[in-house]
């Protein structure tokens, strides 16, 4: 510590920057530390040099107590980038945090050589350095967590897309078998997929089959009616099929107004109706005896 109580870390970081980089790299390259199957030594060297340069620059501000300030934002950003790329390369969060924590030994080494004659100062500075590096290491876990959450969200979105297929049953007839609950997020996807399919195929009839929808309450009915209205605006009529007896009861009970919507018990019935609307019919070929 300086006489006025401020840390000497900033000054020492600047003075010993090169040595810190080389000691750090040496630490990381020790057998067992470097996952050479996942990352090249050259890349590690570059990252260490750059990160330490940024840390030194941030420390120059004099603040080594908090890493949330704007002076430390380049450091946070770089650590975040390293964490993200390492995660993609297959490193575990522990590996990435260890990468940062392994800076401790080199820093302690520098402190020991500079402050060997002043034990109280040495102890205080070691503590300051520990706190700083701990914070930086923990920051990597925050970043890792956020990026995993982003992946989960993206996968959820993908699942939504995949679980609402639109099938072309016939020229001009589309079918949407909905499996699972129909919440508002799902409805958005259903509407987008359906309308795009109408544009792509020029379909004039869309059969929305809800056999696979477990509960149909007021909200779900609203979602269905919205979908039907949207398809209508694109020139396609909808038939809702797959209405189980319990659902029919619920719908009447809730007072949902389905008078504008054609409903059929089964997809087969809906298909026959669709063909009729299009002026088509199915005939059986004569059996030759």
């Amino acid at each position: 510590m300086n006489l006025n109580g401020t840390s000497r870390l900033p000054e020492l970081f600047v003075k010993h920057e090169q040595q810190l980089v080389s000691s750090w790299i040496e630490e990381l390259l020790r057998p067992g530390n470097l996952r050479s199957d996942l990352i090249r030594e050259v890349e590690v060297r570059e990252q260490c040099a750059e990160l330490l340069r940024l840390i030194t620059q941030a420390a120059r501000s004099g603040n080594v107590a908090s890493i949330d300030t704007s002076e430390w934002s380049p450091v946070r950003d770089m650590i975040a980038n390293i964490a993200k790329t390492r995660a993609q390369q297959g490193f575990s969060p522990r590996d990435v945090a260890t990468f940062v924590f392994s800076l401790k030994r080199p820093v302690f080494g520098v402190l020991a050589s500079e402050l060997s004659s002043d034990l109280p100062a040495l102890t205080a500075e070691i503590w300051t350095a520990t706190e700083l590096i701990d914070k930086l290491g923990l920051w990597t876990t925050d970043v890792y967590q956020t990026s995993r959450e982003e992946i989960i969200q993206r996968q959820q979105e993908d699942m939504l897309e995949l679980s609402t297929p639109v099938v072309k049953l016939w020229e001009g007839v589309l079918a949407l078998p909905i499996i699972g609950t129909l919440d508002s997020a799902r409805t958005q996807v259903v509407m987008e997929n359906l309308l795009q399919a109408i544009v792509d195929t020029g379909a004039e009839v869309a059969i929305i089959d809800i056999t696979g929808v477990p509960t149909v309450d007021t909200l779900v009915s609203q979602h269905l009616l919205k979908t039907v209205a949207a398809a209508r605006l694109m020139g396609a009529d909808c038939i809702i099929s797959g209405i189980r007896p319990q659902i029919a009861q619920t719908i009447v009970h809730l007072g949902v107004d389905l008078t504008d919507v054609v409903t059929k018990a089964t997809l087969a019935d809906a298909f026959m109706l669709a063909l009729k609307k299009l002026g088509a019919s199915i005939t059986r070929a004569a059996i030759r005896s």
């Binding site: 956020t146 982003e150 958005q188 987008e192």
Partner: protein, 134 residues
Amino acid sequence: MPVVKAETLPILVQNDMVIVRQSVRAWASQVGMSIVDQTKIVTAASELARNTLVYGGGGSVNMELIQDGSRQGLRLTFTDQGPGIPDISKALSDGFTTGSGMGLGLGGSKRLVNEFEIDSAVGEGTRVTVTRWK
């Protein structure tokens, strides 16, 4: 919440509504919103701009591109010094589809955005703030 970019547009004549729509569309596209989400915020902006012009006697819209952590969004604040709305909850209920109600389209606009805030006092004017996130 950090504001990345901001701009204020006047809503004083009919053509201003067209300019507002086009600007909102451009900014929404810049944020990277899907086409559907862009259309929703532009439509909400059109409704609110109309209120500002026709009911509020003219005013302005402050457009802000905002950042909340990793997500970006578009925040629009419509202000006028018009008569104000006496019964906000009634105005928020859907009336215009049947032709009755104030026809302000507030209820509908609320459904098109993620966040909706309204301040209004009779004789003092109205301020509506809506936000749509990417």
